[in-house]
Symmetry: C2
Subunit: 422 residues, 2 copies
Amino acid sequence: MPTIEGLLSPSRTVAELKELRALTGDENGAQRVAFTPLWAVARKWLRGKLAELPGVEVHQDAAGNLWGTLGGASERCLLIGGHIDSVPNGGWLDGCLNVLAGLEVLRRIAAAGTPAVTVRLVDWADEEGARFGRSLFGSSAAAGTLLPADVRNLTDRDGVKLVDAVAEYGVELDRALEARAELRNAAAYLELHIEQGPVLEHLGLPMGAVLGTFGVERHLVTFTGQAAHSGSTPMAHRRDALGGVSKLHLAVREIAVRHGGVGTVGRVVTRPGIVTAVVGEAEMTIDLRHLDAGALAVMFREAREASARIAVEEKLEVAWRRTWEIPPIPFHPELIEMADEAIREVCGVSHRLPSGPLHDAAEVARAGVPTVMLFVQSLRGISHNKIEDTREEHIELSVRALDRLAERAMGWLAYQKDAPGT
Amino acid sequence: MPTIEGLLSPSRTVAELKELRALTGDENGAQRVAFTPLWAVARKWLRGKLAELPGVEVHQDAAGNLWGTLGGASERCLLIGGHIDSVPNGGWLDGCLNVLAGLEVLRRIAAAGTPAVTVRLVDWADEEGARFGRSLFGSSAAAGTLLPADVRNLTDRDGVKLVDAVAEYGVELDRALEARAELRNAAAYLELHIEQGPVLEHLGLPMGAVLGTFGVERHLVTFTGQAAHSGSTPMAHRRDALGGVSKLHLAVREIAVRHGGVGTVGRVVTRPGIVTAVVGEAEMTIDLRHLDAGALAVMFREAREASARIAVEEKLEVAWRRTWEIPPIPFHPELIEMADEAIREVCGVSHRLPSGPLHDAAEVARAGVPTVMLFVQSLRGISHNKIEDTREEHIELSVRALDRLAERAMGWLAYQKDAPGT
């Protein structure tokens, strides 16, 4: 019998990523938007790969998630997840690296005989939300946080409703929450992903263990002053709404730096928005993120206080409207430790970092399943774009690290007596 | 023979303003856009008023300006000007107050017999530039600064070219500069206008003498950084193009205050402009104005320097593109003195202030004609809007002050021996 290492072929993962790219991408990048024909092509291709694995049962759940299950000595399950869907004109790694690295790990485990615990690969349906603007569809259904009524009438740009689009791919929206059954015996969840940020590249490290996903406070802030002629209105008589935006933008950045989070003003709109008029109304988006709920709350409070102070200084009115929020979701401490060890074993050195973007792992963790993620370095920190890239040697390292982590997690689960899922 | 005061009827001006409003306005305000049918209606109405004045010859010049000429003992001319055209949904005073107050003054002078100098009322064509985006059409033709090739192919929102639109109103574009002949004997130019700003209202004064029109430096400034994910990009790794805009906006305001000018950022555009992305490119308009050319040049230089300093701080690139400029146009010192005296005589107190907006007076002054303007208080500083307003008692004072100024200017011109236009 070959060594465990000998059964794993990380270069096969790189080859399979390229095979998938050729099958479902074009000159503008990946085109595997969930609940569209090319996504179905990718799914069929993945099912073909899973069918070759001895002892692996394959099915699609009520929310459209695809599961490959290798029964083990225990019903307790180790889950390895990812998503094969992409944004339009997407990169060749976001989501599908996770699935294909998981496939390779499952292939290695299956080849080694019946494992101590059940091992399942899951390809979540519609992580990106690219067609209907609702991300994490499949994983939130499995976690039980999806509300079918909230998404039923979401439409794509052609006016097609979500409820009708998913039906074409075997998902009856009103039964989607039945996917919760899939997590019944889940005892650990692992997800590998490209970082989609610049941190690991900046540190010169191939991989990092993810501490959790940031909590997010997302707001629309509007300052109202008085539109006035840019020539006839002396500076002292102005109520320049853009003054509120400029000062609050700089304040938000300082607040983020002070608390070790991130704070972004991504869009500013000026009204009337002409060269010859002082801005009468200015609108800005504010997106605050932190891994710690308390720190996030302080950041939000300080930003509110700053806006009130600035409004007085600038003789403006200010209004806040929350457009979205999610609490921080910390990953499991023991799994983070194991992820760190797996990375050190494969790469020599590891690093712990939070995840700014959300991932399916956040939904699984919210559902109470001990969870961790591995990040592999992104070149230039760019994602959701055809130039998204990661060095092939780093991709191979990441497959090895996921495999090492899976091995550790299986041992951990087999050792636990009164853990969840037993 | 009645006194001079007795011949002047400022309340008639108020009545005529209301008559014109009823004839050419609707529930949304004034609709006398130049080179459109309602403008022609206003013009015909004005011609009817001028036709009632004894000894006044009326004609339209090659650029579409309407002249009413009362021959005097000398060919040297005192000009009183304004514009009967309005923006769409405009106010009841902007432009036509000048014309109708001038009409009343001309009426008074004509009734008093042959004046010492020739007195001419001019209704400039298309001061606002509302249809084709080119303001001061008629006065710039008379001043010789209009370049027909620059405006020929300007189109309105229906695709009609300026050259064709003006032809319908008797203006052959290639001959428009023949209007320069109208200024041949011009020895002084007077224009009354609503302030369109808050200064006089703030000071509690009905009127002010205008020192000249601001010079303007108008630029489009673009900062370029790197678009990046708002969650995955730590603050220290960002190149936030909006940081350039926010800091430069605040710097421009400080520069304007320091030099006693005005500086406005009226429009900001963010790209990609979404809540989840650090701004990769941000564009801002900058409009700097000052009455002193040297101070304006310093303001511009300081703003450029600030942008370069900010670009280094924020790790951005910055590019400037000048979109428009005009030098400051100071009015005539002796006429400013006379304007001040006329205002004090009528209102008890005067004030000297620059004009932020441009006016036809700027073109006439550029052509070398000694020029001054009178401002009458605007309520709330608002113009180009149906809520534009001025107290009726202030309108009446302004007609009296224009009359007193015209009388002084006639005496001044008659007294001059070797002055321009003799």
